[in-house]
Symmetry: C2
Subunit: 197 residues, 2 copies
């Protein structure tokens, strides 16, 4: 519909998650009509990020440094390791300011159907950290999906084999949530895992 | 929160319309974790578009060619000129396949408060097209806002001075729309502009 280059830009913008054809068109026209500087800047930062961002050598989160900000902070608690699926999960937990140990990012979860086995989630790196003997507790914070639970089970077996205490983050009704609006699965879980007071 | 380059990418993505901090984070992580090829491609196309896309010499829509696809199509109806605010409006009308003339894109609307006068909306270019004498009807399709109406009025005066017939697209209840869900302003307009049948 537009000239070839603008059509190409609209298609490229559709690589962004949650962006359909209408939003992509709106974004392309906005950048070209009103924010060329922003477009130029986005293009440059994107190229730089694709070139330089890789995985942290220690925790596998995304960073352009050899070690990420958290792994390079020597004042954190070396005895606790929290295992999450994605870099966004690290940020979510950091925002809560309740955990002071280190992280390990799986960058996925076990899913044999999709060809994601222990190697893809960095189990070799993780196993060698378990073997170092510094870690006393592993907190598994994978998502409560079928794959997330399977991954949690797999990791906990490996950690226990090294004599490490393993815990799983609690699932249930969100604080401030109302029972009425909570889905059945969460409610069933919350009732079956009820705790005596 | 993330490493500096990733934070910078998240900030750059916020230049996109409708993208807040959460979506920008999601987009940045998606591109870096799962679609580096798409990110690379987006960066390149964006740089190319910023460099090459400019205004069509004749209708002022966005294009990387001297004349856009529509202006360079000699088989369209030279007697009709449709005036719209944005390139997206051209596409919207083209999709309806009901108009076969040429377009003129204002790239805005008269708004003295924001410093947008006749020159900014390309009135000089438009006036010289009116003076050429080829155009028999001008269809003003600016949006039914205060500025859009003022712009429509201004343009119609200029066209009429050249003896050109001027029409305004109809505003009212959308076809397929239900009265119950139409806003008061539209309904008031639709009743005051009722047509005898």
């Amino acid at each position: 519909m537009f000239s070839p280059l603008i059509d190409q830009l609209i298609n490229s913008l559709r690589h962004l998650p949650g962006v359909g054809p209408k939003s992509a068109q709106r974004m392309a026209l906005h950048l070209l009509e009103r924010d060329r500087e922003g477009a130029q800047n986005l293009s440059e930062v994107l190229a730089k990020a694709v070139e330089h961002v890789h995985r942290c050598q220690q925790c596998r989160t995304l960073t352009e440094q050899a070690l990420c900000n958290i792994c390079s902070n020597a004042r954190r608690n070396r005895k606790e390791l929290c295992i999450v699926e994605t870099p966004a999960d690290v940020i979510a937990i950091e925002t809560s300011a309740v955990f002071s140990g280190y992280y390990f990012v799986l960058l996925g979860r076990l899913s044999p159907i999709d060809g994601i086995g222990p190697k893809e989630i960095g189990m070799d790196v993780l196993a060698s950290r378990f073997a170092e003997g510094e870690i006393e507790e592993v907190i598994v914070a994978t998502n409560p999906t079928i794959e997330g639970e399977a991954t949690a089970h797999y990791i906990s077996e490996r950690a226990k084999a090294q004599g490490i205490k393993v815990s799983r983050i609690a699932h249930g009704i969100p604080i401030g949530g109302e029972l009425e609006y909570v889905d059945g699965g969460t409610l069933a879980h919350a009732i079956s895992r009820r705790q005596e007071i």
